[in-house]
Amino acid sequence: MRLLFGTFFTLLVAAAIGLGATWFTLTHGVAFGSLTVGAWTAWPKSGSVDIDPYARAIIARTGELPTGMGDGVAFYARTDDAGNALDGRCTFVISGMTPSARYWTLTLYDPGGRLVPNSIDRHGFTSEEIVRDSDGQLTITVSPLARPGNWLPTGGIEKLTLLWRLYDTAIGVATRTTKEGPMPSITRKGC
């Protein structure tokens, strides 16, 4: 009887541990070979045949198509530089030098990868349409309320994901250091 109970208990705990760990890794975007610069993280290998099993499972589950390694690299941000979650009811400022790439796009999504509805139908910027400061740096304000300059409206949703895609770039392909940025910083400016 004790043996039966012990076996049953063991199997139950095993299933809980195994399925729990799978659920956690697939919903929290755990994958190997990440490249982190400030608040931004990319998984360059996810765009190649060297993709790891976790990233495979994640893209199969979400239904997205990863950016191919010969195409570019995609940096995700879900927090600011200080680790505060990107909340669409707050104001965040993205500023600094842009990384070297032929083109880049910055897009704002909800955590599920959908575009966020807003009054001016703007979901991001490309490197060509951004207005730069006099010193060549850029400043983008991510805010629920209209701002002068490069305003990226959040629609007031609770959780944001920013995706910075660099096209035709050597970042993530040639080098592996985290000093290869620079990626712009993200700073919270009040809620």
């Binding site: 012990g6 208990f9 063991t10 199997l11 705990v13 095993a14 299933a15 809980a16 541990i17 195994g18 399925l19 760990a21 799978t22 890794t25 697939l26 996810s46 765009g47 190649s48 045949v49 993709i51 099993p53 976790y54 495979r56 499972a57 893209i59 199969a60 589950r61 979400t62 239904g63 997205e64 198509l65 990863p66 950016t67 191919g68 390694m69 010969g70 195409d71 570019g72 995609a74 032929r102 083109y103 796009t105 897009t107 999504y109 599920g112 990868g113 959908r114 575009l115 966020v116 509805p117 807003n118 979901h123 991001g124 490309t126 490197s127 060509e128 349409e129 895609r165 096209y167 035709d168």
Partner: protein, 183 residues
């Protein structure tokens, strides 16, 4: 006491096995992966433009709204595939995915170095059957080996400003993918 500890250790070990096997099985079990999402929208071996993502609807999550996108859902069992895509003004890329969404090859307009990106896609067996002299003489003929018979080719053209989107879409409208039946 020892018995309980052993049970616990066994549970952790088994849990690890359950975890790894479920992670590995997820791509096989997934019903909403990119290929499945595109199946009702795209005929086989034909280049089809995709609707731009909006806040209300999108074909796949995390699509780049600055790009015009066209997809060729291919099946190489009938023969190798020929892909041709004109290059748009700003930036054009072609990415090849397996049935399970793994990006096994990607090329952009600068790497292709011409006004049109032209590629031949075939399985390893079909590549082995290509006459050798043909392979050599056509030095600029780019042959890509597909690891699987089925998969996706995604052509993306950047509209650097929203006003340029019609031009990007127009460039992709001329993109083709056609099966070359084996003689």
């Amino acid at each position: 006491m020892i018995r309980a500890l052993l049970c616990f250790l066994a549970a952790i070990l088994l849990g690890g096995i359950v975890h790894l096997s479920t992670v590995l099985a997820t791509p096989q079990a997934a019903t909403l992966d990119a290929y499945s999402r595109l199946t009702p929208l795209t005929p086989v071996n034909k280049m089809v433009p995709l609707a731009a993502p909006t806040a209300d609807s999108e074909v796949m999550p995390f699509m780049d709204p600055a790009f015009a996108t066209a997809v060729c859902r291919y099946d190489l069992t009938g023969g190798p595939l020929k892909l041709a895509s004109p290059v748009s003004q700003a930036y054009t890329s072609v990415t090849f995915y397996t049935r399970k969404s793994i990006a096994y090859y990607a090329i952009n307009d600068r790497a292709a170095g011409r006004r049109t990106i032209e590629l031949d896609l075939m399985t390893a067996e079909q590549h082995a059957e290509v006459p050798e002299e043909e392979d050599v003489t056509a030095a600029d003929r780019l042959i890509i080996d597909s690891p699987t018979a089925r998969g996706l080719i995604v052509v993306r053209a950047l509209a650097a400003e929203p006003g340029l989107m019609p031009m990007a879409r127009q460039a992709l409208a001329a993109a083709t993918c056609t099966i070359q039946p084996v003689q």
